[in-house]
Each structure stands twice: as structure tokens, then as C-alpha cells.
């Protein structure tokens, strides 16, 4: 990190620094334990039988004992929920990134009257709590006949994801140099051709940021499916989880393995891509 910070602290007396740093280190370690303990208990419990959970909640389980997971695999609709989540999130992301890039490209690359107004229009959607418009949305979905249909989710998520995406992408696209573009234009390439073959490959990093910023809330969303989706076969993972938790209340081992399984995809992805995740998810707030 910043070398400047290090120089600054280095001037401090060694003892003072040690004492202060010791305290900070203790705070960090305590906090990390606090952050990880619930997740560790959850994963451990997933491999235990219910009596084992009640008797020794902290005990290290036999990781070969996968009866709970087998039960989820064979007896529940879990896999269906998981696939639905992949489908809904995937479709929304494709739409968000496509449409978001289109808008951002138009605003960022071309001078036209109303460009700033349109950008403002998108930004207005940035902080609006759309949950509060759930009644009209519900009526709208009814009129479109897509209640109890995953299209309703995909459309809402797309609309919700666009403002941040346009915001992030426009900022990025504006910083791209125009030489390549101008050269291509001289050669008589069409605008579409320029966008597709020359500019798009350059915006990939911004797409990753915008993608992560949107993928987490969409994957995790519970509110809109709660209102729009009723058919069990169409439920996404967070919503399916409520059905599942209701059915297996007696079997805590299965409950914990259900929670573990639901958490697994995003946690694994996070651990692999933690830098991009942190950058992506805080990108709306950091400037």
C-alpha cells in the first residue's frame, strides 16, 4: 500500500508504534474470529447429525459424513432453485451489461444534445429504493402477464442494474483514447463496427467491476421473488431456502448443510476473486 503511510509511521518511536500496532492487531484478530466463527460453525454443523450439533456445536466433525448433503441432493428441490438462480442471474447480467454498455457508449463517446439529461435520468435510478414501488411493479407484471414467471425478475433486475452500470461504464468509456476510433473512422468503418471490434475489447475491466457490483445483489435478492414468484419450480435460491427451511426444521444437520450449499457458490467465487469483488462492490461508494 501507500509508501507515504509507512514513512509517516516509521518516524514514530518504536515502542509507541508497537503498543499501538499491538492493539490494532488484537482488534483485527478478534474481529476476524468474530467474522469467521459463524461461517465455520455453519460449515462444521453441515457435516454433523442433529444430536451432535446440539451437544458439541464447536466440535470438529467427520468431513466424510455427507449424509446431510445427500439428503438435500435427493429429497429436495434444491438443485432446481440453484439452476433457477443461475438462469435468472445470468440472463439479467447479459441484459445489464449489453444494455448498460450500449447506453454508456452512446453517452460517453458521442456528443449529442440531451446526453447529460439522459445520464441524469439513469443516475436518478441510482439510489431510489425500488422496493417501495413494489405495488405498481406487481400490477405492471400482472398486466404484462409475467407474474409467476422468471421474466418479471429478469426485467426488474435489469432495470435496477442499469443505473450503476451506466454510471461506471460511462466514466470508463470517457477515459478511452480516441485515436484508434478516429483512425478506424477514416478507414470508413461503420459506427457499429468501431464499437464492436475496437472499443468493446477495451472496456472489459469496467465490465468486470460493473458485473460484480450487480451480480451479488441479484444472486442474493429475496424481495422480488417473494412477491412475483409463487410456483415452487420457479423459485430462486434465497426464496427456495425459505421453503426448504420450513420443511426441514426438525433436522438441523440438513438445515446447516442447506445454508452451506447456498452460500458456497458466491463464497468460493469471492475467495478466488476477492480483489475484484471488493473493488466491484464498493465501487458505487468509493470515489
Amino acid at each position: 500500500m501507500s509508501a507515504a503511510g509507512t514513512t509517516y509511521y516509521d518516524r514514530r518511536g518504536l515502542l509507541g508504534t508497537l503498543g499501538r500496532d499491538g492493539l490494532l492487531q488484537i482488534i483485527l484478530i478478534a474481529n476476524t474470529i468474530l467474522m469467521l466463527a459463524p461461517i465455520v460453525i455453519m460449515v462444521f454443523s453441515a457435516f454433523k447429525t442433529t444430536p451432535q450439533i446440539f451437544q458439541s456445536p464447536f466440535g470438529i466433525p467427520d468431513f466424510g459424513q455427507v449424509a446431510n448433503f445427500a439428503k438435500i441432493w435427493t429429497e429436495t428441490n434444491f438443485l432446481r432453485y440453484l439452476l433457477n438462480s443461475f438462469f435468472v442471474t445470468g440472463a439479467s447480467m447479459v441484459l445489464i451489461l449489453t444494455l448498460g454498455t450500449m447506453a454508456a457508449y452512446a453517452i460517453g463517446r458521442y456528443q449529442f444534445s440531451g446526453a447529460s439529461f439522459i445520464l441524469m435520468f439513469f443516475l436518478a435510478g441510482l439510489t431510489l429504493p425500488l422496493k417501495l414501488a413494489i405495488i405498481p411493479l406487481f400490477m405492471l407484471m400482472r398486466d404484462l402477464s409475467i407474474l409467476n414467471n422468471q421474466l418479471s425478475l429478469i426485467f426488474v433486475y435489469t432495470a435496477m442494474g442499469l443505473p450503476t452500470t451506466v454510471f461506471i461504464m460511462t466514466g470508463f468509456i470517457r477515459t478511452l483514447p480516441s485515436e484508434l476510433e478516429d483512425a478506424a473512422r477514416m478507414d470508413g468503418a461503420s459506427e457499429a463496427r468501431i464499437m464492436w471490434s475496437i472499443m468493446l475489447p477495451l472496456v472489459r475491466p469496467a465490465m468486470v467491476i460493473a458485473g460484480i457490483q450487480n451480480v451479488v445483489p441479484i444472486w442474493n435478492d429475496f424481495f422480488f421473488p417473494l412477491v412475483f414468484i409463487q410456483n415452487d419450480d420457479l423459485k430462486t435460491l434465497p426464496q427456495g431456502l425459505t421453503t426448504f427451511m420450513g420443511e426441514y426444521t426438525t433436522d438441523w444437520g440438513v438445515l446447516f448443510s442447506g445454508l452451506t450449499l447456498s452460500a458456497a457458490p458466491i463464497v468460493i467465487l469471492y475467495i478466488v476473486l476477492s480483489r475484484q469483488f471488493i473493488a466491484g462492490m464498493t465501487s458505487g461508494a468509493v470515489k
Binding site: F138, R142, L144, S145, I146, N148, L151, Q230, T249, T250
Partner: protein, 413 residues
């Protein structure tokens, strides 16, 4: 532009969800997801007897069923035949004119049904019947026979005996009652499942006649007694115990009794096939007091007033009102069918049916869910307060009476 988009979206949606509707194809909606297999069977029987009519059974989540149904009906895409709730829940749908009114001419069997059952599926204002009632539910005490036998206990005849029996179980290291009250609606179940006999039939009649309200000592004393039992004989921390955990305590044999509805019995059997269940009506003060269960009607089958196949729908309703169906319903689903003349093979069900002969309606659901705030919402939160030691029975009587006065005319002074 926007209208076009809506149109395109609508067309897209329609293509995706529309199924070609044939002339005599009925759709039948229900919130009983767990009963699907049984209903498929009933429908097979009906289809065999009525060639040319087919019925498609679709289920939705119980908690949101009303919303889904009224949405669909308002949007003109409702089912031909549907389950509807009773009481206030029925009026919500029926008052909007979505349901086909039924008469003893269109469904002759209705004439034989018990009056309260039919009333539960009628509009209070004009008595029009909108649905064929299907089941009644009973709020009572379910107990674990093996545990009672092991501790030499019999079904209590008076409140004191109930307390003594609970103490015996507690001394033996068994949780007397499994109930928890963290889940709001369980408070209502506990209150009336345990307190109905203490409140008594006379209180109920006077309440209905408008000569008594909830500040009546018979009502508040019952609440106090229920609270005492809860404090002493419910599990530790019962106010933080949610409904599924409470069921689990009972079905796993850790507790002796469970205050709940007759609908619980199937769940307990499913959770623990070896469990031997018994039922009794919670006793009154003395052994001589009438033992009353809280009785209510679950819902009914109704036809869509705007349905394309009304004739076939009515035919199907007639089947759903027949004794043949009622018998099959009772046998396969272990529910108390409201159809007269049905007999119960299951001895436990037969016993519940016997207990039903001495009952008062499950009070808040049957009479106080027609406005805001509903009696159910009030009693649930007030009882939670009482269990937490933050109110008194007298204050509850006051709160209920003044709260309901917002829309319940007899309480408006």
C-alpha cells in the same frame, strides 16, 4: 414507446405461459401443496364418472394464496374452480364479485350441510353462499400417549387436574407443553386451544349478542390461567421458541402435550411415525364445566363467476359436495370433512369429530377478521406481551375491546 414495450412484453409473456384451453378443461387452484397426490386421485375418480371433463390441479404457496388468487381473478386469468378461505378471507374475494353464487338448486347437497359450515362460506350481509365448505379444524390439546401412560396420567377433567398432570411431567423431566410463542399466530392457537372451556359457552353467546365484551371476567380470567400454565409448564424460553421448533419438541417425544389444531396430527405422524397420539378438549375450571374445543372451517371450493366452463365447474362442485368425495377426503387426507354422513376410520379423527359436538367457534377467526385491526392481530400481540410480563389480562380485555371498536359496531359506544 412505453405502450409498445408493454405490448411486446405482454405478447412475450403470453407466449411463454399460455396453454391452449380446450372446451371442457377445468383448472382447479389450491393452497394445499402437500395434498397434491390425494387430489389427483379424487380428480381421476371424477373424470372417470364424467367423460369429456378434465380437471387440472394447480397449487400455490399457502401464505400468498389469497394475493395470487385475487390478482388472477382481477386480471381475468383466474381458475375455473378454486379453494377459497372462509370468513373474512372469503368476503375479500366474494365481495368483488369474482365468485359464482351457489344455491341449493345448483348444488343440492348444500342443503344438508351444518349451518355454521355454510355460514363460514357465505356473505354475512345477504347470506349468499359462495363455496362448498371442505373441512373443519379443531383447536385442542394433543398428547403423547406413551408419555402419559409412563407417568400414569389420564386425560384431565378439570383445570386443577391439568396443572397436576403438567407438574407430574415436569417432575419426571419431560417438558409438559411443547408450545412456543415466538411465531405470532401460535399465540392465538394457544389462547383458544387452552382457554375455550374456561371462557365458556355463555360468554361466547353474550359476546355475540352484544351484551358482553372482552373486558368480561370470564375472558380475562381465562387469559390469566393460560398465562400461568405457560409460565410454569411451557419450555424454557418459550417466548423465543418458534412454531417449527415447538412441533419438533413434541414429535421427538421431548414434550408431553401440544396445544394446536387437528391439522397438527398428520404433521406429527409424518415427523415421527411411531408416535401415539391422543386428543382432549382443554378442561374448564371444574370437571362439571363443559369441555369445549375451538372449531372453525378451513375453506371451501368455489367456482369462477367469469369462468368459461361454468356448467362443468358446477358439476365438479357437486362432486366435491358429495358424500363419496367426503369419505375419500377424510380417509386419504385425515381431515374432518364437513360433508354430512361421512364416517371416520381413523380412531383419532373419529374422536376429534366427537369432541366437535361440544365446541365454540375459534373466536377471532370466525368473528373478528372482518376489519382492521383484526382480532387475531390484536390477541396475538397482546398475548405475547402477557407472556413477556408486559401487560395484564384486564388490560388485554380493554385493548381488544377498544381496538375492535374501530370497526366492530357492537363495541362502539
Amino acid at each position: 414507446m412505453k405502450t409498445n414495450l408493454i405490448r411486446i412484453g405482454a405478447a412475450l409473456g403470453a407466449v411463454l405461459i399460455a396453454a391452449p384451453a380446450l372446451a371442457q378443461d377445468l383448472t382447479f387452484w389450491s393452497w394445499r401443496q402437500e395434498d397434491r397426490a390425494a387430489y389427483e386421485q379424487f380428480i381421476d375418480t371424477f373424470e372417470a364418472a364424467n367423460p369429456g371433463i378434465t380437471v387440472k390441479f394447480e397449487t400455490f404457496e399457502a401464505a400468498n394464496y389469497n394475493t395470487i388468487l385475487s390478482t388472477a381473478l382481477a386480471g381475468g386469468v383466474g381458475p375455473d374452480v378454486m379453494m377459497v378461505r372462509a370468513y373474512g378471507g372469503l368476503e375479500n374475494v366474494a365481495s368483488a364479485g369474482y365468485l359464482e353464487p351457489l344455491t341449493t338448486e345448483s348444488v343440492p347437497a348444500l342443503a344438508e350441510f351444518a349451518a355454521p359450515a355454510v355460514a363460514a362460506e357465505s356473505m354475512r350481509s345477504d347470506g349468499t353462499i359462495y363455496a362448498v365448505p371442505f373441512a373443519s379444524q379443531t383447536q385442542l390439546v394433543i398428547y403423547n400417549k406413551a408419555i402419559f401412560d409412563a407417568n400414569g396420567l389420564a386425560e384431565p377433567q378439570s383445570w386443577d387436574e391439568l396443572v397436576t398432570a403438567s407438574q407430574t411431567l415436569k417432575d419426571a423431566g419431560v417438558i409438559p407443553f411443547a408450545n412456543g410463542t415466538a411465531t405470532a399466530w401460535q399465540n392465538e392457537t394457544v389462547t383458544f386451544g387452552l382457554g375455550s372451556s374456561l371462557m365458556g359457552k355463555a360468554f361466547y353467546d353474550e359476546l355475540m349478542a352484544g351484551t358482553a365484551d372482552f373486558t368480561d371476567a370470564r375472558f380475562t380470567d381465562a387469559l390469566a390461567a393460560v398465562n400461568e400454565v405457560a409460565q410454569d409448564y411451557f419450555p424454557d424460553g418459550f417466548i423465543g421458541l418458534d412454531y417449527p421448533s415447538a412441533q419438533q419438541l413434541f414429535s421427538s417425544g421431548m414434550a408431553g402435550m401440544f396445544i394446536g389444531g387437528s391439522y397438527e396430527m398428520a404433521t406429527f405422524k409424518a415427523q415421527n411415525p411411531d408416535i401415539e397420539l391422543g386428543v382432549f378438549a382443554a378442561p374448564g375450571k371444574t370437571a362439571e364445566d363443559a369441555k369445549l374445543v375451538g372449531l372453525y372451517f378451513d375453506g371451501g371450493y368455489a367456482a369462477n363467476a367469469a369462468g368459461a366452463n361454468k356448467e362443468a365447474s358446477i358439476k365438479f362442485l357437486n362432486y366435491l359436495a358429495s358424500k363419496e368425495f367426503g369419505q375419500a377426503f377424510a380417509n386419504t387426507l385425515s381431515n374432518i370433512s364437513t360433508i354430512p354422513g361421512v364416517s371416520f376410520d381413523n380412531p383419532l379423527l373419529a374422536e376429534v369429530n366427537e369432541l366437535n359436538k361440544s365446541s365454540i367457534p375459534y373466536l377471532m377467526l370466525a368473528h373478528f377478521r372482518y376489519g382492521e385491526p383484526s382480532g387475531s392481530v390484536l390477541i396475538q400481540s397482546e398475548m405475547q406481551k402477557l407472556f413477556a410480563g408486559e401487560t395484564t389480562p384486564e388490560a388485554i380485555g380493554e385493548a381488544l375491546t377498544t381496538g375492535l371498536a374501530a370497526w366492530y359496531a357492537p363495541f362502539q359506544k
